[in-house]
């Protein structure tokens, strides 16, 4: 082949390569984040009947767990025979604002922990009690009770320099295509919220009411349970409860929802 033909062939190949690379870039480009003023709670996507269930404390099934949590807060536990109340007093005062800033960086563990992990750390370190199992009724009840004390407050996770790498890991997880369906969280919840998936509204996926009473579960559950459900729904291997990846994602989601009002215990379909 002549040198000119070679050059043309090479140029054509280069153009093809660039085009291919641009396509790859486009697919890998982060989805557009929702502008802060356009963020809406999952509450806004529900029907009037479901909203009414959440609005009435005497009809919200999540309040049954809050009642349980109140009892557990005041019950002596562990070898130290100490109740949460013995150190923290009246939760209505001492726990006000706490759930709104979790997951929070834990210096001793050098990573963020979520509220359930914090409760279990308290149990083992200060009450000398066995940690409560993930998604157990007692752990959910305490999380719901503590969460209830922040209802009405704006979400405000504290993300300092130490927590930033974990926030970024959570953001990367949110934007990463994964699983058999090769879907990222962002594709539904940043790019296609307010559209419908098989008759159900796609929300913006803000965790501003956890633990929630989910009609699909007919019970109360944590954000981690919901995330695992979504992962299975997109045909992705779900992380185990308590996995660091899940906590990073929780941190990112709470940061993404910063300023939105906490609704715990929320009702969701």
């Amino acid at each position: 082949m002549s040198a000119r033909a070679d050059n043309r062939a090479a140029a054509a190949l280069r153009a093809l390569g660039i085009a291919a690379w641009l396509t790859v870039l486009a697919q890998a480009a982060p989805a557009s984040e929702i502008p802060l003023p356009e963020r809406r709670s999952g509450y806004a996507f529900m029907r009037a009947e479901t909203r009414a269930m959440q609005d009435d404390d005497s009809a919200n099934p999540g309040m049954l767990w809050v009642l349980d949590g109140d009892r557990l807060w005041n019950a002596k536990a562990g070898a130290a025979a100490r109740a949460c109340a013995d150190c923290h007093g009246d939760a209505r005062m001492s726990m006000r604002g706490v759930a709104a800033r979790y997951p929070a960086y834990d210096a001793a563990r050098a990573r963020p922990v979520n509220l359930q992990q914090r409760i279990n750390l308290c149990r083992s370190e200060h009450q000398q009690a066995q940690p409560l199992a993930s998604e157990s009724r007692d752990l959910l009840a305490l999380a719901a009770y503590v969460g209830r004390q922040s209802r009405g407050l704006p979400i405000a996770p504290e993300v300092d320099e130490r927590a930033k790498p974990f926030l970024e890991a959570g953001r990367a997880a949110f934007q990463r295509r994964q699983g058999q369906l090769n879907l990222s969280c962002a594709q539904c919840h940043d790019d296609n919220w307010d559209r419908r998936l098989a008759g159900n509204a796609i929300t913006q996926a803000h965790p501003n009411g956890y633990p929630i009473y989910r009609l699909e579960w007919q019970g109360l559950g944590s954000l981690q349970r919901r995330l695992r459900n979504c992962l299975v729904g997109t045909r992705t291997q779900a992380y185990d409860y308590g996995d660091a990846e899940l906590v990073n994602l929780e941190l990112f989601l709470m940061w993404r929802a910063r300023g939105m009002i906490l609704e715990t215990p929320a009702v969701r379909p």
């Binding site: 009435d56 005497s58 007919q218």
Partner: protein, 108 residues
């Protein structure tokens, strides 16, 4: 399951002759008996079958539940405030389930 918790909503005070609204919500899975485990083994029925509300001992409302009642059963009904006293709620069901709650009402 753990201890049954119930949330009841009865006004603390009322005028004689007023119709008052009552709400009762109790924690219970209401296992229908129609579900199966992932291995196909039927999960036995375990539901609340009856709810009775009494006002100073006299029955004012009763509900008979079937498996179609949703988990954590909720009821809203009404009664006429006749006298001060106690409004009591009693749930019974499969496997000897029994729960009782009550609220005091002051009627002027």
């Amino acid at each position: 399951m753990s201890t049954a918790r119930a949330l009841i909503n009865v006004p603390a005070t009322a005028r004689r002759g007023d119709i008052i609204d009552i709400k009762a919500l109790i924690s219970h899975e209401m296992e229908t008996g129609f579900r199966r485990t992932q291995l196909g083994v039927p999960i036995p029925r375990d539901i609340i079958t009856q709810f009775v509300c009494t006002y100073n001992g006299a029955e004012i409302f009763r509900a008979e539940f079937h498996p179609a009642i949703a988990a954590n059963p909720f009821l809203a009904f009404s009664t006429i405030a006749t006298e001060s006293g106690t409004i009591a709620f009693h749930w019974t069901g499969d496997n000897g389930f029994s729960a009782t709650e009550s609220a005091a009402i002051s009627v002027a």
